[in-house]
Amino acid sequence: MPTTVITGRDVTFTLDSASYDAQATSAVLSCETIIETYQTLDGRAYKSVDKQWTFTIELLQDWGAASSLFEAMWTDAEAAPNTALTVAFTAVTGAAFSFTVLPIFPTAGGAAPGALTDTWTMTVIGTPTETFS
């Protein structure tokens, strides 16, 4: 089969129905799988016991802008910290994932003289629902 290469420019996502493409420089959906190992009399045995999904995005701060994403996230984290936000994440056309995350407080400020950035590491509730087509 031919080599397939997809790049970060193929990635798109919406968070709470807002498109973050214009501000996001990186978006990663990852899973930490906890596999326990048991030393039995017959040898080593393995058991997958738990999974925790995480959605990590790196962004350019947009405080003060019209329809600021940072201000929207701050408001959500302050007003409704336990209300899940829906995320629709497309790695590339034909591979989409939907899941929910809890809001977090974004960072304000950074170092001179470059653009101010932030990394949001958001805990995914449950397991993402994948759509492969």
Binding site: G8, R9, D10, V11, T12, F13, Y20, D21, A22, Q23, A24, T25, S26, A27, L60, P113, G114, A115
Partner: protein, 129 residues
């Protein structure tokens, strides 16, 4: 009306610099009249650094070259320093990322000797239809 880099970025920089006492060029002039400020593309010129490809968004890097006449070393350096400080003050909008000012160097353009210094500037641009 679609945006263009010439109007919305280089033209905007030229407008922002209008208050500085110098001739402003938003492209490389054939023969600059000093004191002069020249906005020229740096390398890399365009950096793609955001996700998605439905809209073209790039980070543009520029060199703002400040030029003064080089007759007397001490006076020329003072003039150049004052012009650089004026430029940094004029480009105080949050959209402009100013990083460094390069060391002054002597350049000959035609028969004129200039003392020039480069200021690195970055700005983000989104193409709209």
């Amino acid at each position: 009306m679609p945006t263009t880099i010439a109007t919305d970025v280089r033209g905007a920089i030229k407008t922002a610099l209008a208050g500085v006492a110098a001739n402003i060029y938003d492209a490389v002039p054939e023969a600059p009249i000093v004191p002069a400020i020249i906005c020229i593309p740096d390398s890399p010129y365009m950096e793609l650094e955001v996700l998605g490809k439905t809209t073209i968004r790039v980070k543009l890097n520029y060199t703002i070259t400040a030029c003064v006449a080089y007759f007397s070393n001490a006076a020329a350096l003072d003039n150049l320093e004052q012009m650089v400080i004026s430029i940094l003050g004029a480009l105080n909008a949050s959209k402009y990322e100013l990083s460094i000012v390069e060391r002054p160097s002597v350049t000959e353009v035609g028969t004129t000797t200039l003392l020039v210094s480069d200021i690195r500037l970055s700005v983000r641009y989104e193409q709209t239809a």
